[in-house]
């Protein structure tokens, strides 16, 4: 593969990590949704690029899904849900932005350390890509556990899953990629609908906090 091709893929993957950091940085829901849309766009670009350089046309489908579903439908849906459920716009954090960022740095470093032990194989792309994908995944998880707000947690999960797609597409000739991305989109749809159905206003917690105290046989 051409050097430039590798550089561009690399750039896109790196920028995905960057956008993840941006997500971590936000403290307003709408802003977060916009940033996530950007995240999805970058992913789309990178997938499309992979499809181009691997000339694997089926990856374009994945890119399309990423573009339509993640970059457009989901953000809009969430946006409307925020309005509908009257969720207030602040993002409640367990950990402040600063520490969260530091933790994120640590995670990226960890991802690098773990991945760079991998022997540079046929093409370096795989290794670098994996490192970035792993960081995106970890950052997504970090976001899920440091944000109290349901919507932001969904966003976290989705960016985690973006990392997966990045890895999957980066893995040259990996079968079932499209199916996987479809499956995941359905999963996310479930989650979003669930939030909507169960009227989970602020956080996943509310449901079981009540359940703890009122419903379970396990009353303390």
């Amino acid at each position: 593969m051409s050097r430039i091709g590798f550089d561009i893929a690399h750039l896109l993957a790196g920028s995905l990590v960057l956008v993840s950091f941006l997500e971590l940085y936000q403290d307003r829901l709408y802003a977060l949704l916009n940033v996530f849309a950007v995240h999805a766009l970058v992913l789309t670009a990178s997938v499309a690029w992979q499809a181009f350089i691997q000339d694997a046309p089926h990856l374009y489908v994945t890119a399309a899904i990423a573009l339509v579903f993640k970059a457009m439908i989901i953000p809009v849906a969430l946006h409307r849900m925020i309005v509908r459920l009257g969720i207030h716009r602040e993002i409640e954090k367990v950990v402040g932005v600063g520490p969260a960022m530091l933790a994120g740095m640590g995670l990226v470093a960890l991802a690098m350390v773990v991945m760079l032990r991998v022997t540079p194989g046929a093409e370096p792309l795989a290794r670098e890509d994996l490192a970035f994908a792993l960081s995106v995944v970890l950052l997504g998880l970090l976001m899920m556990v440091t944000r109290r707000n349901a919507v932001s947690q969904v966003v976290g999960f989705m960016s985690l899953e973006n990392g997966l797609v990045l890895a999957a597409t980066g893995a040259k000739g990996m079968p079932l990629v499209v199916e996987i991305s479809v499956a995941f989109s359905i999963l996310i749809a479930f989650i979003v609908i669930g939030i909507f159905l169960f009227r989970i206003r602020e956080r996943f917690d509310t449901v079981d906090v009540q359940a703890l105290d009122r419903f379970r046989g396990e009353r303390r």
Binding site: V114, G121, L164, P175, I191, F204, V207, D208, A211
Partner: protein, 479 residues
């Protein structure tokens, strides 16, 4: 003809699922459900005699045919139990016919998914199947639509999804490791091909992959600290599903773990998977053992005991070696049979007493002797008291471990003792003491319960040589 057996294991549930979704009447569907599972079990048995050659998608070897037979058998007995259980639920109006219909369809889908996961030769396919099974159970856990049921389902769903993601990442990594060696495309995901050339894979990549797979599938196995979904899912769903979850789904997830353990073991440079599994196993064992003490909900109690035993099994497989592996297999089988039997009993008890609160049950051996003694026997078995099967497996695990690494064995024994004390404490309250709660007669289906207990008892004192040879062979495969 040889393909038919495997095809049957998959096709029968699939077809049944479609059919059951279509049919309205409860009686018919319940019967049909039983018949379908029976058929599946028959197909599974035939796997012993005729075995298809490994394809790029499907594979049947000694390891998974053991699992398949166990799964289909317990699925069969559970469906028998479920017919009477669901009948009662309908009678008291806890479930409406449409939901029952949905339930039966989902039951078959679940069977299909688990069988698929077991016979899959392609790690991607295996992943898909396990996730399908997870999502199905999520739907069934929430089927009562009560607040806490929904809450349990939701928790299960979220944690499960994260698990799914992690497992997928692991799978991708394995593919990445395999691709340079095997080449692009489907072949690089075929397990037989992978294990054949695992020694040439990149060790570091395999390590990372295993970490993710361990966490991803470990969530399904219910290993602490990934267990959170398990107790509530068991407690709030219909009891047959609790039985299937404890008896089967956990095994299936564990099976996936074992496959990858073998893969890693085949690569000398990769880190030994044993210690990780041993650690997680011990953590789960001790943690669950202590959790038993504060349980007030009978189904949650046994859910935690499932965590405990999955811990033991993981520990045994982590230790490895012919003795420990044999013990692990035996323990897994015994645990599936016993735990599902216990859940059968618990289901009827909860229906009779109209509650799952242990405090509201008591003197069961006096009010419902059969149920009470069956439950007592089940608890004795699960607590590892002889002459029941789990005693033998625990005997083998502990004694073989103590000779190899005493400290581990002492932790193990400690956990076992704490768990036993916790279970018996609750059993005392349930089975003996002044009778409490309604004493109406239970219209229960005792057959599955006692069939399981009889099997467990037999295995405790006598195991047919054929079975032993089989297990030893499998234990050899596990390395």
């Amino acid at each position: 003809m040889t393909i038919d057996a495997v095809a049957g294991v998959l096709a029968v549930p699939a077809a049944a699922a479609a059919l059951l979704a279509a049919l309205p009447d409860y009686r018919v569907t319940a019967r049909l459900n039983v018949v379908a599972t029976a058929l599946t079990f028959a197909c599974a048995l035939s796997l012993f005699f005729t075995r298809p050659p490994p394809g790029s998608y499907l594979l049947v070897d000694d390891l998974n045919s053991t699992f398949i037979v166990l799964t289909t058998f317990v699925a069969f007995t559970t469906s028998v139990f479920s017919s009477s259980y669901i009948g009662h639920e309908l009678a008291i109006g806890r479930l409406t016919p449409p939901f029952v219909r949905f339930y039966h369809a989902m039951y078959q889908v679940l069977m299909f998914a688990m069988n698929l996961a077991l016979v899959a030769n392609n790690i991607g396919l295996m992943w898909v199947a396990i996730e399908l099974a997870t999502l199905t159970t999520v739907l069934m856990v929430g089927i009562y639509r009560t607040h806490e049921a929904l809450e349990a389902a939701w928790k299960y769903f979220i944690l499960g999804s994260v698990g799914i993601a992690l497992a997928l990442f692991g799978t991708i990594l394995v593919y990445m490791a395999a691709r340079p060696v095997i080449g692009e495309g489907l072949e690089a995901m075929v397990w037989t091909a992978l294990v054949g050339r695992a020694s040439e894979f990149d060790a570091a990549l395999l390590d990372v992959a295993f970490v993710f797979l361990l966490l991803g599938y470990g969530t399904k196995v219910g290993l602490a600290p990934l267990h959170a979904w398990l107790p509530d899912a068991h407690a709030e769903g219909p009891t047959p599903i609790s039985a299937v979850l404890s008896g089967l789904l956990l095994n299936v997830a564990l099976y996936a773990l074992l496959r990858f353990k073998i893969l890693l073991a085949a690569n000398a440079a990769a880190l030994a998977p044993g210690p990780l599994m041993v650690t997680l196993g011990l953590i789960s064992l001790v943690f669950a053992a202590f959790m038993l003490y504060r349980r007030r909900d009978i189904k949650r109690l046994f859910a935690y005991s499932s965590i405990e035993h999955m811990g033991i099994i993981t520990f045994a497989f982590g230790m490895g070696g012919p003795l420990a592996n044999f013990a692990g297999l035996l323990h897994m089988t015994m645990h599936s049979l016993t735990k599902s039997a216990i859940f059968f009993a618990v289901g009827h008890v909860a229906q009779v007493k109209g509650t799952q609160r242990i405090a509201d049950m008591g003197g069961l051996t006096a009010t419902h002797p059969l149920l009470g003694w069956a439950l007592a026997a089940g608890v004795a078995a699960i607590a590892g008291l002889p002459p029941l099967g789990i005693f033998m497996s625990e005997f083998l695990v502990v004694s073989s471990t103590f000779a190899r690494s005493p400290l581990l064995a002492i932790v193990l024994v400690f956990g076992l003792l704490v768990g036993l004390a916790g279970l018996l404490l609750r059993l005392n309250g349930i089975a003996f003491g002044e009778p409490r709660g309604p004493t109406t007669k239970a219209e229960a289906s005792y057959l599955p319960m006692f069939a399981h207990l009889a099997l467990v008892l037999t295995a405790g004192v006598y195991m047919p040589p054929a079975l032993v040879a089989w297990f030893q062979n499998v234990a050899g495969l596990l390395g």
